[in-house]
Amino acid sequence: MTLKKIVYILAALAIIMGAWGFYDRFANGHQNAAYGSYVVWGLWVAMYLFFAGIAAGSFMLATLDLLFHIEIFKGTGRTALWIGLISLGGALLSIWLDLGQLWRIWKVYLQGNPGSVMAQMVWGYTLFGLLLVASLYLAIRDPQSKLLRVLMIIGLPLSLFVSGAVGALLGVEASHLFWHVGLLPVQFPVFSLASGVAALLAAIGLFGPAKDPHRAQQLWVLSIATVVLALVKLYFLWADFSQSIYGNVPQNVQAVNAVLFGPYAWTFWGLQILLGTLIPIVVLVQPQLARHNRWAGWMGVLVLVGFAVARANIVFPALTVPELEALINAFSGPRLQFEYFPSAMEWSVTIGIVGLVVLAFLVGTDRLPLQSQEVA
C-alpha cells in the first residue's frame, strides 16, 4: 500500500471521527466545549491561526513560480495555491464554528465595523480567498495570462496583510500584555511564510511528482528556508519570552511560565521545540536528507505540528492569566476557570477539519492538473 493510500484512509477516518464533533457542535452549540468565559478562545481559534498562516504563506510561495518565474520553483505554483485554498477553508471553518451565532456571519460584511481589526481581517481573508480561487483557476487554465500576474501582484501584499492582521488581532489587546507587543503583528508574516514553506516541503516531499527533475533541488531550497525560518522563529521566541521575563511584569511572567513550566509545558518542549524545530533543523541541514523525498517531507510535517502547538501557545497562556488575580476564586463555576484543555468535542471537530483539508489536498493532487504536463 502506498503512502498516499494510507493517508487517504487516515483522512477518511479523521473525517468520520470529526462527524461526531460536527454533529455535537450543531446540536448542542458550545455546551460541550471546554473553553469558558475566562479562557474564552480555545483549540479552534489556535487552529484558525495555524491554517490561516499556511494559506498566506503558500500564496507567498506561489508567487515564486507564477509571478517571479524562478526556474527551480517551476510547477510548484499551482500546488502552493491549492494548499493555500484548502488551508484557508480549514481556517475559516474552524473560526466559523467558534462563533456563538454561526448564521450571523453575514453581519460582518453588511453591518461591519471598519475600525475593528477582526472585521478588517474577515474582509481581508474573504478577498484573499476569492483571489486564491481566481489565481488557481487562471494558473490552471491560462498560466501566461496578464490577469494572473496582476492577481499575484495584488495577492502578495494582501497575503502579508492578512497574515499580519492575525498578529494584530491579538496585538491590539492592551488588556493582555503578553500579546500587546509591537513585535507580534510583525512576527506573523514570518510564521506564515515558515508554515507555507513547511507545507510545500511536505507536499513535494511526500506527494510530489516522481518525474520532476527539479524535485530534489526544490526540496533542498525549501529545507534551507525551513532551517533559516526555524532559527528566526527561535529568535522571536527568545525575544518575546526574554522581554517578558526581564520586564518582570507579573501578568507577562505568569503567561511565559505557563508555557515553559505549566501543566502543558510538555507540548512546548516536546512538540514545539524538539519535534517541531530542533529535529527538523538537525535533519534538514544534512544535504542528502534534505534532498530525500521522505525525510524532507516528514520534516515538513513535523514543522507543521510544531506550528500548530505554537499557535496554541500564543493564544492560551495569555488567557490563563487572570485580569484581576482574585477572580480565580471569586465565583466558581464550570466556565469560570483559568485552566483549559480542549474537550473531546473540540478535538473531534479539529480532527475532522484536518481530515477534510488533507483529503481535499489529496483529491486535488489526483484530480486537478496541479503539476505541469512535463512532470505530471
Binding site: L99, K107, V117, S175, L324, A330, F331, L336
Partner: protein
C-alpha cells in the same frame, strides 16, 4: 426634613434639633426619580462601592444572577476576596466587580459588528440581536467583566430520581424564562439570543428606566453599593466620588471607569 421629638438619651448634651438620617437607599431612590426627569444624555450613571462597608456576603452577586437569570458561566458581579497579610496578622478585603461602564471602553471598538457600544446614558450595552458571539470583546476587557452564554442551565445533568424530586423540568423552565435585560424579554431557548452571546452588567438599566435601583444596590445589606446620577450635585454618588478616599480599578489604563471604590 422631620425633626425628632422623642426624649433624648441622657448622654446627648447638645440642644440642637436632631434630624434623623434618611436611609441612603431612600435618598438614592429620590436621586433616581430626579435623574429620570432629565433627558437621557444628561444622566451620568455611576456606581460607588464602599469597600469599608462590604462584608463579602455575595448577596449582590446572587441578586444579580436572579434578576438577570444568569446561566452557569455567566456572572456580572462577582465579589473578589483578597487575603492580606500572614497569620496571625491577616485581614480580608472584598471587592465587588461589576462592569466598569468605562467612558473609554476597550471592549466596544473591537466589536466587528457594532454589537456593543456606549448608550446615551453612558452604559455599555450589548445588542444581543447583533452579537455574533466572537468573544473578541471579552478578551479586550481588562476587568474580565464580560462572560459568554454557553446555553447551559444549572439543573442540566441532574438526572435521575433526585432530579425528579427536585422538579428538574420546572426548574429548567424557570431558568430559561425571560429576563428583561435592555427592557426586552429574552427567553433562553434553542440557540437563540442571548445564548451564544456575550453578556455583561448593564447597571440594571431595565430597572433604572422604570425608576428602580439596580438589583445589587437594593440587596446590599451594608448599603455598600451606591448608585445614581453623577451629574446631579445633590445626589449621594456625587458627594462620594469627590471625596479623597476614592479610587478606580486599573486607572492607569485610561479606561475612565464609572465604578468608584471608597477605601
Amino acid at each position: 426634613m422631620p425633626v425628632l421629638t422623642e426624649p433624648r438619651p441622657a448622654f446627648i448634651v447638645s440642644n440642637a434639633p436632631l434630624i434623623p438620617q434618611q436611609d441612603v437607599l431612600l435618598r438614592m431612590q429620590d436621586d433616581l426619580k430626579r435623574a429620570l426627569q432629565k433627558p437621557v444624555n444628561q444622566r451620568r450613571w455611576v456606581m460607588v462601592i464602599d469597600l469599608r462597608k462590604c462584608v463579602g456576603c455575595h448577596a449582590c452577586t446572587i441578586a444579580c444572577v436572579a434578576e438577570n437569570k444568569l446561566p452557569p458561566g455567566v456572572v456580572y458581579r462577582p465579589v473578589l476576596e483578597e487575603e492580606i497579610g500572614t497569620y496571625p496578622n491577616v485581614t480580608r478585603r472584598f471587592v465587588p466587580r461589576p462592569c466598569m461602564q468605562c467612558d473609554n471602553p476597550p471592549c466596544t471598538p473591537v466589536c466587528p459588528v457594532h454589537a456593543t457600544y456606549k448608550n446615551a446614558q453612558g452604559v455599555v450595552e450589548v445588542n444581543y440581536d447583533q452579537c455574533i458571539g466572537c468573544r473578541y470583546c471579552i478578551t479586550a476587557c481588562p476587568y474580565a467583566a464580560r462572560t459568554f452564554d454557553f446555553g447551559g442551565t444549572y439543573v442540566q445533568g441532574t438526572t435521575g430520581s433526585e432530579a425528579f424530586l427536585l422538579g428538574e423540568p420546572k426548574a429548567e423552565a424557570m431558568e430559561r424564562a425571560a429576563n428583561y435585560e435592555y427592557s426586552k424579554a429574552w427567553e433562553r431557548k434553542g440557540d437563540e439570543s442571548p445564548i451564544g452571546n456575550v453578556r455583561k452588567c448593564h447597571f440594571c438599566l431595565h430597572r433604572v428606566n422604570e425608576g428602580m435601583l439596580p438589583s445589587c444596590v437594593t440587596t446590599c445589606m451594608g448599603r455598600a453599593t451606591l448608585f445614581g446620577d453623577a451629574n446631579d450635585p445633590d445626589s449621594v454618588v456625587a458627594d462620594w466620588i469627590a471625596s479623597p478616599n476614592v479610587m478606580r480599578l486599573k486607572e492607569e489604563l485610561g479606561t475612565e471607569p464609572r465604578v468608584y471604590y471608597l477605601v
